[in-house]
């Protein structure tokens, strides 16, 4: 009897948790199919009368969401690439290679993790202004690389610790330089660690508002987060359907990365355990 009761409590508890997590997201997606009229006349939990993509078309064509999307991609991809390349290289030098002072340099990188972005905005704004980079996407890309470097470097150095140094020593015996080892041994071996960090940094760059807002000087350079912030001001009155569609579009790529890479990491973990 108590067993039945406890499993009932269990099921109710889990359902409640899932409902709290999922319902707002479901409501958002349903809302993206509703017409303006439905928003005003039907109760908020009603289902849309049809699943037409009209709101998505409106958001993408009439409200610049397509441009914002491209801007976000144009900023996120190069930032991620260089942040990872430089960070992994630095982590490799700081952990695998042997030289005096590497511990101090690692601490030097670590010091930058806690500093809030506000502490570097004014000097960077001045700098980008002086060298004439304002009105381009470069300030965003450069700032994201710099903001992500300390954590990437630090985490990569930690991950490299797990690889036996003998591996690199053996490679050097075969005449492979340490520079080549970085590309042919370190990068392939660190694949799963790199994917994990790339995922974390992808979310932090894609979702950022502070830096994008500070360095976006023109409307046509707005990223999704900056553009969505002023989305409702474009119309005389807020068009809820297109707004909900735009929020959903903003979330789609994040969801895809989450689902896809979650699997990747699980697969990587499984593969690792078989080998071990």
């Amino acid at each position: 009897m108590t067993k039945v009761l406890s499993s009932v409590v269990k099921v109710v508890g889990i359902s409640l948790l899932l409902a709290v997590v999922l319902y707002p997201q479901l409501w958002l997606i349903l809302g993206s199919f509703k017409t303006q009229n439905e928003f005003f006349t039907k109760p908020s939990w009603s289902l849309p009368s049809s699943f037409s993509l009209e709101n998505y078309v409106t958001a993408l064509t009439k409200s610049n969401v397509a441009t914002m999307y491209l801007n976000s991609l144009a900023v996120t991809l190069p930032s991620l690439f260089f942040m990872l390349l430089f960070g992994i290289a630095a982590g490799y030098v700081l952990e695998v290679m042997v030289w005096k002072g590497r511990q101090a340099v690692l601490l030097y990188f670590l010091a930058g993790i806690m500093v809030p972005g506000q502490m570097i905005l004014v000097p960077l704004f001045t700098f980008y202004f002086q060298v004439g980079l304002t009105n381009t996407l470069w300030p965003l890309i450069i700032t994201y690389i710099v903001m992500g470097l300390p954590l990437t470097t630090f985490l990569m150095a930690t991950y490299f610790r797990a690889i036996p140094r003998e591996l690199f020593e053996a490679a050097t015996m075969d005449g492979v330089s340490m520079f080549r080892s970085f590309f042919v041994i370190a990068l392939p071996l660190m694949r799963n660690a790199i994917i994990t960090i790339a995922m974390v940094e992808f979310f932090s760059v894609w979702n950022d508002l502070l830096i994008a807002l500070t360095f976006t000087t023109r409307r046509n350079l707005a990223t999704l987060q900056v553009g969505l912030l002023s989305f409702s001001d474009q119309y005389g009155s807020t068009q809820y359907g297109p707004l909900f569609a735009a929020i959903s579009i903003n979330i789609v790529i994040v969801a895809v990365v989450y689902v896809f890479l979650n699997k990747q990491i699980m697969a990587g973990l499984a593969a690792g355990s078989v080998k071990g």
């Binding site: 997590v21 707002p24 939990w45 290289a89 490799y92 004014v122 140094r165 502070l210 979330i251």
Partner: protein
């Protein structure tokens, strides 16, 4: 062989990009901001040295003090909420769901990766009132209560912001704390069970003390994130009504970039940085004392 591992050319080639960018575009700006906090002016007017005036102004500026209080209140409330909810969920994963928790973990974690701006706009509509009434007010009407205009009041906006952030991040803290709970040896739990400790007593006497280190990391982590809150409060209600829910980060942004007070903006940034430092070290020191007692 040692020589190859210490190859100077490779070290310089691979380290230089990261080290140079980090130094020139992060550390130099930090020192620069620190210096600017003793000046007044902006790019167009030029800068004049004013000594500690900005810091004195900060203590007398009601908007600055309000922003400081919003930041502190938000940090403390959200950190407490995140750790308590995260820990409850983690206990649920480990002791109730056991092996079946993977799916629930994945689903509950997902909101963490959503953009704050998207979440804030969603919650804004979710709690909205009027022609486009959101589900929260609809449910309140059903239960016989009148609609409430949440975003017209500072304290209710604050409440919505807290609920929103907990909704977004509880899954993350659950996974973080779950990792700590899984590390507790099964034998310890078994022997406690044999000794007759079950349910809540098992949690409070055995599990809680053993997960103290990971709880501490979560608290530090959470303070560091919530003291920097920006997107959520800006997108939810523009730091309002008025400036009632404007945190230090947003106040700094407005001082520097809307009112072009670069010096004063830098002062606000310095205060924020000090706050992060004090909280991290403070939490760390308190925990050290607890261990020694």
């Amino acid at each position: 062989m040692r020589r190859v591992l210490a190859d100077k050319k490779t070290i310089v080639l691979l380290l230089a990009p990261a080290l140079l960018m980090y130094t020139l575009l992060k550390l130099v700006p930090v020192v620069w901001s620190l210096g600017l906090s003793f000046f007044e002016g902006n790019l167009l007017t030029g800068f004049t040295f004013v000594g500690g005036k900005n810091f004195v102004d900060f203590t007398r500026d009601p908007d600055a003090i309000n922003a400081l209080m919003v930041t502190l209140k938000y940090s403390v409330v959200v950190t407490a909420g995140q750790v308590v909810m995260g820990y409850s969920l983690a206990l649920l994963y480990v002791f109730v769901l056991r092996r079946a928790s993977a799916l629930v973990r994945t689903v509950a974690f997902f909101p963490t990766v959503l953009p704050s701006v998207a979440v804030a706009l969603l919650f804004k509509s979710f709690f909205s009132v009027g022609d486009n009434q959101g589900p929260v007010n609809s449910v309140m009407n059903l239960m016989g209560y009148p609609s409430v205009e949440f975003l017209a009041s500072g304290s209710l906006t604050f409440m919505v912001a807290v609920i929103m952030e907990l909704w977004r991040s509880m899954g993350f803290y659950a996974v973080l704390l779950y990792a700590g709970l899984v590390d507790i040896p099964v034998e310890t739990l078994e022997s406690a069970r044999i000794d007759g400790a079950g349910g809540l007593r098992l949690v409070s006497n055995i599990v809680l003390p053993l997960s103290a280190p990971i709880l501490l990391s979560s608290v530090i982590f959470s303070f560091n994130a919530t003291l920097k809150v920006f997107d959520g409060l800006l997108a939810l209600n523009n730091g309002g009504p008025g400036s009632e829910t404007t945190p230090l980060t947003l106040y700094m942004y407005r001082s520097a970039f809307q009112y072009a007070e670069y010096g004063y903006g830098s002062t606000v940034a310095v205060v924020l940085t000090l706050l992060c430092l004090v909280f991290t070290l403070g939490v760390f020191r308190t925990s050290r004392q607890d261990v020694t007692v």
